[in-house]
C-alpha cells in the first residue's frame, strides 16, 4: 500500500486545526491504528507549527508544503517552506537541535533532558524546543533537513509504522 497527502498551508496559526484534522483523516484512511494516527498526526502538526513559527513568509502567496507518505513499513512527513536566511540563526538553531538529538542513543533520554532544561528556564522563556524531541521520542522518527538553492528548507521525519 502506498498513498500520500499533500497540503498547502498558510503561515497562520489558525490553520493548525485544519492540518490536525486533515492529517488525522488521511492517516486513518490508510488503515493505521488509532494509536498510530494520533502519533503521526502529532509529528505532522509539530513540524508545521515549527514552520509557521520560524519560516520566512514575505509574500502573501507563500505557503508551507506538507507531504505525508505512507508506504508500508515506512511513513514519512516532509514540511517545506522558506527559511529566514540561509545560514541564519534559525537554521543554525535547527541544525544544533538535530545534532543534539542524534547525540543521544535513546530518544527518551533526549526528551527527558529537554524537559529538565525547560523546568529550569524562566517562566517567560518563549521557546520550548520540545517539539523536535517529541517527534523523535513519541513519533519514533528520524529527523533530517536540507536547504535548496532557493532557500527552501525541507524538514523530514521518517519512521517505521507502529
Amino acid at each position: 500500500m502506498e498513498s500520500q497527502l499533500d497540503l498547502r498551508v498558510k503561515a497562520d496559526w489558525s490553520e493548525m486545526a485544519r492540518v490536525n484534522e486533515e492529517a488525522g483523516e488521511y492517516l486513518a484512511s490508510c488503515g493505521l491504528s488509532a494509536e498510530a494516527v494520533q502519533m503521526y498526526t502529532m509529528v505532522v502538526c509539530e513540524l508545521v507549527e515549527n514552520a509557521i513559527k520560524y519560516g520566512n513568509f514575505v509574500d502573501e502567496e507563500d505557503r508551507i508544503e506538507v507531504h505525508v507518505s505512507v508506504a508500508s513499513p515506512t511513513i514519512s512527513v516532509q514540511v517545506t517552506h522558506h527559511c529566514r536566511e540561509t545560514g541564519g540563526a534559525a537554521l543554525r538553531d535547527l541544525d544544533r537541535t538535530v545534532q543534539w538529538l542524534r547525540s543521544y542513543q535513546a530518544p527518551f533520554e533526549a526528551y527527558v533532558a529537554r524537559m529538565k532544561a525547560i523546568s529550569r528556564e524562566p517562566l517567560d522563556a518563549g521557546k520550548s524546543g520540545l517539539g523536535l524531541a517529541r517527534i523523535t521520542y513519541e513519533g519514533r522518527a528520524l529527523l533530517d533537513f536540507y536547504v535548496d538553492e532557493n532557500s527552501m528548507l525541507s524538514v523530514s521525519a521518517v519512521s517505521s509504522l507502529a
Binding site: 486545526a17 502519533m39 507549527e49 517562566l123 520540545l130
Partner: protein, 124 residues
C-alpha cells in the same frame, strides 16, 4: 475562587472545580497553543497560588484531552517544577490506555517527589 469555572482557548476547554477537597483542572478537547506562556501558564500559576492559599491539592486531569502540542506541555512542566522546589501539591492524572498520553505524561515522573506532594498517575 468560585466552585466551577470554565476557560476556553480555541479547541481547548479547561474546567476548574474548587468545590471539593482538591482543586481539579479538567482538560478537554484539543490544545494547540502557539506560545507556552499564553493562556495556560497564567491559569496554572493562578490556580496553584489559590490552591496553596486554600491548603488544597491540585489535580490536573488530562484523561479527556484528545490532542496537545509540545507548547502545551511546557507550562505543565514549569508548574510541576515550581511546586516541586517550592510549595504546593499536584496530582497529574492521564489515561494510560491512550498510548500518546502514556508516552507524553509518564515521562513526567521525573518531577515526582518522594513525599507524594507531586504525583504522576496513569489510570485506566
Amino acid at each position: 475562587m468560585g466552585t466551577m469555572q470554565t476557560y476556553e482557548n480555541n479547541q481547548l476547554h479547561v474546567e476548574v472545580d474548587a468545590a471539593g477537597p482538591a482543586v481539579t483542572m479538567r482538560f478537554l478537547g484539543k490544545s494547540m497553543l502557539r506560545e507556552p506562556g499564553e493562556f495556560l501558564l497564567p491559569l496554572l500559576l493562578k490556580t496553584l497560588s489559590e490552591a496553596i492559599e486554600g491548603n488544597k491539592r491540585i489535580v490536573l486531569d488530562f484523561r479527556d484531552l484528545a490532542y496537545m502540542n509540545s507548547s502545551t506541555l511546557t507550562p505543565v512542566i514549569k508548574i510541576l517544577e515550581r511546586a516541586r522546589v517550592g510549595k504546593g501539591e499536584i496530582t497529574l492524572v492521564y489515561r494510560k490506555a491512550l498510548k500518546w498520553q502514556d508516552i507524553s505524561f509518564s515521562a513526567l515522573v521525573i518531577f515526582q517527589t518522594p513525599d507524594g506532594r507531586i504525583l504522576i498517575q496513569g489510570e485506566g
